[in-house]
Each structure stands twice: as C-alpha cells, then as structure tokens.
C-alpha cells in the first residue's frame, strides 16, 4: 500500500507538470488514494510559494565575499561606507568557536581552577585563521566588479587592519604589528590605485569616491596617535610607516577631491623638492694651551666637526 502511494504520487507529480488534464487522468487511476494524493499535491503546490524568498539586496547584487563588520564595532564615521558592503561575521564566529574550544581545553587542563581566557575575535598573524582571513580578503578584492568598488573594498579591509594596528601597538608583539601594518598599507595602496583608475575614466566619480575615502580614514592619524602615544621603541618604525602611509593616502584623496586634475598632475609631475644639504664650513681649530690643559690626556680635541686626537707631547 505504502509503495503504491509513493509510486502514485511520483506518477501524479509527473502528470501535473504536463497539465491539469494529465493530472486529473492520473488521479482517476488511483481512486482509492485520490483524496490523499490530492492533499499531498496541494501541499507540494504550497511549497512553490517559497520561491518568493529572495536574498537580501545587498547580498544578491554584490560579490559574495564581502565581510561587513558588525556596525556596533565601527566608529560612527565609517558606517556610511561600510553599509554599502554586505558582510558575514562568519570568520569572527569561527574564531570565537576555536577560541572557546581552546579555552575549554585550557580550563580542563588546569583542573577547572577558574581561569578565564580573553579571546580576540579578530584573527591576528599569530592565529591559524589569519591565512584564511587574508585569502578571504584577497578574494573580496578580486571579485570587486569595478575600480570604485575595489577602492571601497580595499579601504574597508584596510580599516579592519587599522583597528588591529591600534590594538597591537601596545602589545609588544613587534612582528605581528609589522605584519598587520604592512597589510594595512598594502590595502591603502590598493585603494589609491583603484581611485586612480576611476579617475582615468570619470573625474566626477573620482571626486565623489575620493571624498568618501578621505572621510573614512580621516580620523586614522589622530586615532593612531591617541592609542599609540607611548609605545616600545621597537614598534615605532611600524607606527611611523602606518602614519606616513595614512597621510600619503589622505593627501592623494584630498588632492583628487579638491584640485582639478590637470593642476594636480602638474604638481605631481614636479620633482619632489629636497632640502639643500647644509654646507659644512670648516671652523678653524685653535689649540690653546688653556684648552689643552683642561682636557684629559689622550682625549683629543672636541670641535663641532668631531674629536681630533692631539699629538703626543
């Protein structure tokens, strides 16, 4: 009986695709199961309506791999840009899962002494998920459909790394900071190049995009100075690079936004002025007995050009 109803259902589903007459013919072939078949077919029909479900607009019309950080984590000034980018928090959730598993194992190993582990949800260069994160970001950039979108994606990614630069500057992890800074600068550079591409095609679009990009990183230098005001000596080089790269990008964005293109290109074409090297004017060295007498033996004569050994005797 069960087998028969399954076959009858399969037959009537096929018949239904051919039209109402075929379906009616099929149902008539199974008079004993007709009521049940009819109910099952109506249930199947109702499922078609689920095709109304559509992906959200931002997911449907945007390449798939754009991650959008939770708005709550973002500075308000960045919302406008990042709203444009759909984003899963999947990697973060995975990181939380991995972190929680590790924390659980750690606590078990310590006999449940109640240690807690603070887990960063953003993967850093020291974490296994970091490579996945970089691959993900690379794919996001590759899938941007046009230079303007690529610029926005680059800057959104740069922004995430910038947050880590700010976080790592106090950590003492010199290598991680250097690596995160390098990725930050790399994406800033990508945004600049993409902006230049936009500019080559459409000046007005470039001005608008430059304004958007500049608004987004406008507070970065201030933020970096504030959060990294006192850092270990070893980390200063990376921070200096981050600051210089940010200023450089800001400069380009501002120039594209405010200067007519020919004027800006003329400025860029000029060689960067280098400050003149100071001319060294030899100062006559006057050896006076009183001067020599005041110096320890063999110490030499100190002048503004160096220390000159005094001849014996």
């Amino acid at each position: 009986m069960s087998r028969r109803i399954e076959e009858a259902l399969a037959a009537c589903l096929r018949a239904r695709e051919e039209g109402p007459a075929s379906l009616e013919h099929c149902l008539n072939q199974f008079p004993e199961q007709r009521a049940e078949l009819d109910a099952l077919l109506r249930t199947a029909d109702s499922l078609r309506t689920l095709r109304q479900i559509r992906a959200p607009e931002r997911l449907r019309h945007t390449p798939p791999l754009f991650a959008q950080p939770s708005p709550a984590r973002l500075a308000p000034a960045r919302h406008r840009l990042l709203r444009l980018l759909p984003s899963p928090a999947l990697l973060r959730r995975r990181a939380v899962r991995v972190g929680l598993s590790a924390a659980a194992a750690f606590l078990l190993a310590l006999g449940g002494l109640g240690y807690t582990v603070s887990i960063s949800v953003d993967s850093t260069p020291n974490q296994p998920l970091y490579r996945v994160r970089l691959a993900w970001e690379g794919a996001r950039v590759a899938l941007a459909s046009n230079p303007a979108q690529r610029a926005i994606v680059h800057l959104a990614i740069a922004d995430r790394h910038f947050e880590q630069v700010s976080a790592l500057c106090q950590s003492g992890d010199e290598q991680a900071l250097a690596e995160v800074t390098a990725v930050y600068l790399q994406h800033l550079e990508g945004a600049k190049q993409a902006l230049r591409q936009v500019e080559a095609e459409n000046d007005a679009a470039a001005v608008s995009l430059a304004h958007r990009l500049r608004s987004d990183i406008g507070g970065n230098t201030f933020s970096l100075r504030r959060s990294c005001s006192r850092v270990p000596e070893a980390q200063r080089e990376a921070l200096a690079r981050a600051l210089a790269g940010t200023r450089n990008a800001m400069g380009l964005f501002l120039a594209v936004e405010t200067l007519p293109r020919p004027e800006r290109e003329a400025l860029e074409a000029q060689p960067t002025p280098t400050p003149p090297r100071p001319t060294l004017v030899p100062t006559p060295i006057v050896i006076e007995p009183s001067n020599v007498a005041s110096m320890p033996e063999g110490a030499g004569l100190k002048t503004e050009h160096g220390v000159f050994p005094l001849p014996d005797g």
């Binding site: 689920l50 798939p64 794919a139």
Partner: protein
C-alpha cells in the same frame, strides 16, 4: 546532461544549461579564474542558494553567512570544477547542503525557530497559497529530517527532477520518491491541513 525543464530555468535567471549555453560558458570561464564570470554566476544563483539555506537554518543572518561561505568555497574550488554531467547549480546546491551539515555538526542544533522578519518577498503580508504563510511553511520544513528537508526543498521549491535530487543528496531516484512521499505527508500533518485539503471526488 540532464534534460532542462522550464521550471529550472527560472532559478537561474532564464539561462538554460545546455552544451553551449551561457551558463555553462560562464562556469567554464569562472573555472579559469575569471572573476567577472564568477560574479555573474553569483548574481544568478545567490537567491537560490540563500533560499535553500535559509529554509534549512531558519535564521536570516546565519543564512547570509552560510551563503557567502558557499560561494567562498565555490570560488576556492572553481578551478577544479569541471562541467561533465554536473551543472553548476547542482554543484552549488551540493556545496550548500554540505555547508549546512558542517555548520550543524560543529554546533548544537538550532533552537526551535522563532518567527522573524522574512527576507525580501514579493508578498509583504507573507500570506501564501491556501492560507499557509511562508513562515509556517518554513517552520514546518525545519521539523523534518535533514533528508526530507533536502528533498522537499530541491524537489518542490527548486523543482528539480527526482533523479537530479538523488544526485545532489547521494541517493537513488527510488529513495527520493519514498522520501518525498514521507516528507509531504509529514509536512501536511505539520501544517494541520489533512482534513481541509482533502477534496471529495466529484
């Protein structure tokens, strides 16, 4: 190559999957790491994959995440994709199925789904055929077994032939027929429609 049914073409933006069809060409270009081709494939299939996942997991945000995971996996493996007898959307649906399985394998089963705002639907009231809302259908589907969910969604939402459903979920066509009957019967029971839906013979 599977025969193409009209209903299938709707799911892929009207592109048919014949030997020299645009969809196949797109997939083959994407397999050569052509990002523009992959982007177009994404736009054609995003609805289908999102819908499939959403109806299985019942959570809008999670469905978005998993949809993007599916396409990330697809992008990572696209150069290994060969058309052979597997249309691109089969490959994606199979990836989506495995992604959902992996998701639930690594975390507790989801709590009883709660009504939430539906993703964009044409019907703002959510009221659909026969007085059953989309949300009621979704919740009823989530109470089915995983295989039943797959068959229901692939067979009656995506309207794939039983043979293709079998290929995607790794079961024979006969097994799919059995599952589809049980799934529809269970669904009908869930929806409490067994009496009202019965139609007396003329």
């Amino acid at each position: 190559m599977y025969p193409v049914e009209p209903s299938r073409t709707a799911a892929t933006g009207g592109l048919e999957e014949t030997a020299d069809d645009p969809l196949r060409q797109l997939a083959e270009r994407a397999a050569q790491r052509d990002t523009e081709a992959f982007r177009q494939l994404y736009e054609l299939h995003a609805d289908q994959i999102f819908r499939h996942i959403y109806l299985k997991v019942g959570n809008h945000d999670l469905a978005e995440d998993l949809t993007q995971t599916v396409f990330l996996k697809a992008w990572e493996a696209i150069d290994r994709f060969q058309w052979r007898d597997i249309p691109f959307h089969h490959w994606l649906l199979k990836t989506a199925r495995n992604t959902v399985i992996d998701h639930f394998r690594t975390r507790k089963p989801p709590p009883e789904p709660v009504p939430e705002e539906l993703p964009a639907a044409d019907d703002p009231e959510g009221v659909v055929l026969q007085g059953v809302t989309i949300d009621e259908l979704r919740r009823a589907i989530q109470r089915l077994s995983s295989d039943q969910q797959d068959v229901i969604l692939l067979r009656f939402v995506e309207e794939l032939p039983a043979a293709e459903v079998g290929q995607i979920i790794g079961k024979s066509e006969a097994a799919v027929r059995v599952i589809q009957h049980r799934a529809l019967a269970a669904l009908r029971k869930q929806l409490g429609r067994e009496d009202s839906r019965s139609v007396a013979p003329d």
